[in-house]
């Protein structure tokens, strides 16, 4: 059998290149109305009264009064209203929809509607904790007792905007009592379940369909459920097809972003050895909790990076502020923590006058070591080999030495990192309970029936490839239509780098059964997720195996810093990854390039902040993502290290590739300017401050 990693043409590139792929804004239905959100102009307060202009016939106001079910967007943590009743918690919060046939008139109604508020003082400081976590490993803080010294540093990360090129949007239409929604989404069943609760509907009466998705990166994980619920309420009320498409500034002002974080590290040192680490992490959830608790726990679990530290005291808070809610973004808490821990390990080594790499290697986790949560790294850890390779291809040692000359303003930095694959803890087993179906058709075609969404990462190609390879049939015989909840079971959301490992794993098992029964003319095989029996995790105490498997990575980045302008120029980047087994090499390389690009620019380029709750970079002109001119050559090497429960040994890959970018580029900048970096993004403005102040 041929190597599954050998690349094939992506099955959807033809329709995408020719412009015939259908994204949500490309769909037009007869008689479709336009919906536009009316948004709050204050960050905190109460709505006293809303004064509407005269509403013409065929135009509608849709608000909380029209919600037949529960006025809550069903996410993990249920604290977000579909439409606010009185209370406003952030600027640009969507208060109601105006719907009608002529978009200009809809906009006019929005502009003529006046809201009287009773304003309250908004909270932007991180003072209102909604969730706090704490756990220990080994002897915890006891480890600090006999220390020679304690090394302490603080690290800060800011917002990052997903900046998918396709803004968020949905269309919805009624069929009798049934509401159908088509939207730019990662998780058809999140949307369906949220809408069922909003409409108090039966599952048969809510249908969700995915069209082509123009990028998501976590930004279309939980946020679309809010738009979908609002639109579903409108469709349910008006009984006509309606379109609700976000403008770019609307998307940037009020959809979720990566959580800003403040991370405080302390290390107890005795005879140049780390005795224990204490870490405290605060993240800004914005106006509601949403997924923030889960984001914080992933960050906390990653607190020792790729290193084994025996004694830990780990804590953190989720703070609520009157700002735009933050949420899922590729990496989900890990990019913040890996930036901090990689910088911290480097800073400890420098403080102790130790060679950084030898110091890091000394603590590198090995197979059977205990994780930060007392789980076990069960699979082989091949990081030493990966580090060697990365150093060799980048000529790291020679460059590192040459760039120690302060006058050259060049630097090379290396980051080491992993990503826990799939959901944290028992989410997969207790909440998602993924189910997949594989159906053999009468003509011998095989249909993949899952809710996994292709948002560019290539799952429409790779899942088909898995099926074709196992069943030994041509890939043209494998059908994988866009998910439609009327046709596919809930195989879980397309998040957490779980899709190939978990959903693909189930599909692979279904294939094996199908192959045995191939002689039967037409039949369906169903598989449901079962946690490997050795995986045990206690959410409350953060004890046990937080993840079934880990993907690992090494990034090396070379930069130049301009002496006059402090601008960073990327020169070269190298990556080595262990993602189990690449189902399609070129697709993994594409994830590697794209993930690293986002990670690097998170580290030095992408600036977003708010002023009194208003995002200052609210369009693509002001929010800077890299252009082709900003990027350097990226070379990626993939190592096989198969995981027993992934198809062909595959583990997660999508998020992994983002995580090492920020620390690698910052470590390179540190060398170039001979200063220490404690926050990202390391903008020219910040680099100037560092250079000025020594």
């Amino acid at each position: 059998m041929k190597d599954i990693s050998k690349s094939i043409k992506k099955t959807d590139s033809n329709e995408k290149i020719s412009g015939s792929a259908t994204y949500v804004a490309d769909i037009k239905l007869d008689g479709m109305l336009h919906a536009v959100s009316l948004r709050s102009s204050i960050a905190k307060g109460k709505i006293k009264e809303i004064h509407f202009p005269e509403i013409p016939e065929d135009y509608y106001i849709v608000s909380h009064k029209d919600i037949p079910g529960k006025n809550i967007v069903k996410i993990i943590f249920e604290d977000q209203k579909i439409f606010p009743v009185h209370t406003i918690t952030y600027r640009y919060e969507p208060i109601l929809l105006v719907v009608g046939p002529d978009k200009q008139k809809v906009v006019d109604i929005i502009n003529q509607t006046k809201i009287e508020y009773i304003e309250e003082t908004p909270v932007f400081d991180w003072v209102n904790s909604a969730i706090d976590y704490h756990f220990e490993k080994g002897i915890g803080l006891e480890a600090f007792k006999g220390a020679d010294k304690v090394i302490k540093y603080d690290y800060e990360t800011n917002y990052q905007e997903q900046a998918y090129i396709e803004p968020q949007g949905f269309i919805g239409y009624p069929e009798g009592d049934k509401v159908t929604l088509i939207g730019s989404i990662q998780c058809p069943y999140y949307v369906k379940n949220a809408v069922i609760q909003a409409l108090n509907a039966t599952p048969e009466n809510v249908r969700v369909i995915q069209p082509s998705i123009g990028g998501a990166f976590g930004g279309k994980e939980e946020f679309p459920s809010l738009i979908a619920c609002q639109l579903a309420v409108a469709v349910n009320k008006i009984k006509k097809p309606i379109q609700l498409l976000y403008e770019r500034d609307e998307d940037m002002n009020c959809t979720t972003k990566r959580h800003p974080a403040k991370i405080h590290f302390e290390a107890a040192i005795k005879q140049n050895e780390i005795q224990g680490i204490k870490v405290y992490t605060a993240i800004d959830a914005g106006a509601n909790i949403g997924l923030s608790g889960v984001v914080l726990s992933r960050a906390l679990i990653a607190c020792t990076g790729v290193y084994t530290i025996d004694n830990l005291d780990v804590s953190g808070d989720v703070f609520i502020t009157n700002t735009v809610p933050n949420g899922a973004f590729r990496g989900f808490g890990a990019p913040q923590m890996f930036f901090a821990v990689e910088m911290f390990m480097e800073h400890i080594a420098l403080d102790l006058n130790q060679d950084v790499l030898s110091f890091k290697r000394k603590y590198l986790a090995k197979q059977n070591d205990k994780t930060s949560t007392n789980g076990i790294f069960r699979d082989p850890v091949i990081m030493p080999k990966m580090i060697d390779k990365a150093m060799k291809v980048s000529d790291y040692i020679k460059k590192r030495e040459a760039y120690n000359n302060e006058s050259v303003y060049k630097g090379i930095g290396m980051s080491l990192f992993f990503h826990g694959c799939g959901f944290t803890g028992s989410g997969e087993k207790d909440i998602i309970k993924a189910k997949v179906k594989l159906r053999k058709e009468m003509n011998g075609d095989v249909s993949i029936l899952v809710a996994a969404v292709d948002m560019g990462q290539g799952i429409r190609t790779t899942l088909r490839k898995v099926v074709a390879n196992i069943l030994e049939i041509p890939i043209e015989k494998v059908i994988f239509d866009f998910p439609d909840t009327d046709k596919v079971p809930d195989s879980g959301p397309t998040v957490a780098s779980r899709t190939m490992m978990i959903v693909g794993g189930l599909i692979a098992r279904a294939c094996i059964e199908m192959k045995e029964r191939w002689i039967e003319p037409a039949f369906t095989v169903t598989k449901q997720y079962k946690q490997p029996s050795y995986i045990e995790y206690d959410e409350a105490s953060f004890y046990g195996d937080a993840y079934p498997a880990y993907s690992w990575g090494v990034n090396i980045v070379e930069v130049e810093v301009d002496k006059a302008t402090y601008q960073v120029n990327l020169v070269n980047a190298w990556s080595v990854y262990d993602c189990g087994k690449a189902i399609d090499e070129r697709i993994v390389l594409g994830q590697a390039d794209g993930g690293l690009t986002q990670g690097l620019s998170y580290g030095y380029l992408e600036v977003m902040n708010h002023d009194k709750g208003v995002i200052k970079q609210k369009n693509m002109t002001d929010y800077i993502i890299p252009t082709a001119k900003d990027m350097c050559k990226m070379e990626t090497i993939i190592y096989d290290n198969p995981y027993a429960f992934g198809p062909y040994g595959a583990k997660g890959v999508g998020e992994l590739t983002l995580i090492g970018g920020a620390p690698a580029v910052c470590l390179a900048i540190e060398q170039a300017i001979s200063r220490r970096i404690h926050k990202i993004p390391a903008t020219p403005e910040y680099i100037m401050e560092l250079v000025n102040h020594g």
């Binding site: 978009k103 601008q567 120029n569 890299p626 001119k629 100037m688």
Partner: protein, 279 residues
């Protein structure tokens, strides 16, 4: 609803302008963004509009012995590729926006827009460019420094349009435009810097400096420049701190979503210092 016109000749345009109040749109790249409505609604202009991009009379580049004349509707890309265009202006245009914008945007539009961050303005100030303004009964020529009066403010009468940008034919020994943007292309400047310098018998005979995006309009001060004429490179290098000090009062940047005052100020000084040190 606003009215819009697409005249076929310059004369027709000037006649319209003589009778009513209009906003002129050339390439539209700035005007469409400034007046963006929710898609797919028509552009949300505040005034009646005259579109001039079809006026062939305003296209193309010509020269005489002393000057280059750039028609107001010549695209930035065409200017960039034209053999008559001075290298400094070509280099400047290459730093502006992206190919798609350069194919439709115009130099006259960048002037008319009078944004403090307009990149071409820095170079046009440095080159002592003039604009030709035309109304039905009058044609006048004005130095760009006098034409731009403030942030998005120009000395254009309601019945006039910009018909030409006029550039002195001048050769520097060394000239450069440096854009400091938030990324390497397709971005609005945090600040920009341009210089032009010429020596004769080892002494300066021309010494020009301009800064962009650090004041309401481009910073250029001939009264400072003239103090550094007939200087050798060494003398200039000895005067570095004095030159920087002379410009300091005019570098008055703001904090905004793209950068901050301290950075803009210091980088202006760094670039000025680097330019002189590397002579």
């Amino acid at each position: 609803m606003v009215k819009s016109y697409v005249p076929e000749t310059l004369k027709e345009t000037l006649e319209l302008l003589d009778k009513g109040k209009y906003q002129i749109v050339a390439g539209g790249t700035d005007m469409l963004i400034q007046n963006h409505a929710r898609s797919p609604l028509p552009i949300n202009y505040k005034n009646d509009i005259i579109y001039i991009s079809n006026l062939e009379e305003l296209k193309g580049i010509t020269e005489d012995d002393d000057f280059i004349y750039i028609g107001a509707c010549t695209s930035l890309e065409e200017i960039m590729e034209h053999k008559l265009t001075p290298k400094l202006l070509k280099d400047t245009i290459l730093e502006m926006a992206s190919p798609a914008i350069r194919h439709t945007g115009t130099l006259a539009g960048n002037i008319g827009n009078a944004s403090p961050a307009g990149d071409s303005l820095v170079t046009l100030y440095l080159l002592n460019a003039d604009v030709q303004l035309q109304s039905l009964n009058n044609t006048r020529r004005m130095c760009i420094r006098d034409f731009i009066t403030g942030v998005r403010k120009i000395d254009l009468k309601p019945n006039e349009i910009i018909t030409k940008v006029i550039i002195n034919k001048i050769n520097f020994d060394k000239a450069e435009f440096i854009k400091v943007g938030p990324r390497r292309s397709d971005a609005i400047s945090k600040l920009s810097f341009a210089y032009g310098i010429t020596f004769h018998n080892n002494q300066t005979i021309d010494f020009r400096i301009a800064f962009g995006a650090v004041n309401t309009t481009v910073v250029r001060h001939p009264e400072i420049e003239c103090q550094y004429i007939r200087k050798t490179k060494e003398e200039l290098k000895e005067s570095i701190e004095e030159i920087i000090t002379a410009y300091r009062p005019f570098i008055k940047p703001i904090d905004d979503q793209r950068s901050n005052k301290a950075y803009r100020r210091q980088v202006c000084e760094n670039l000025l210092r680097e330019f002189i040190l590397e002579l």
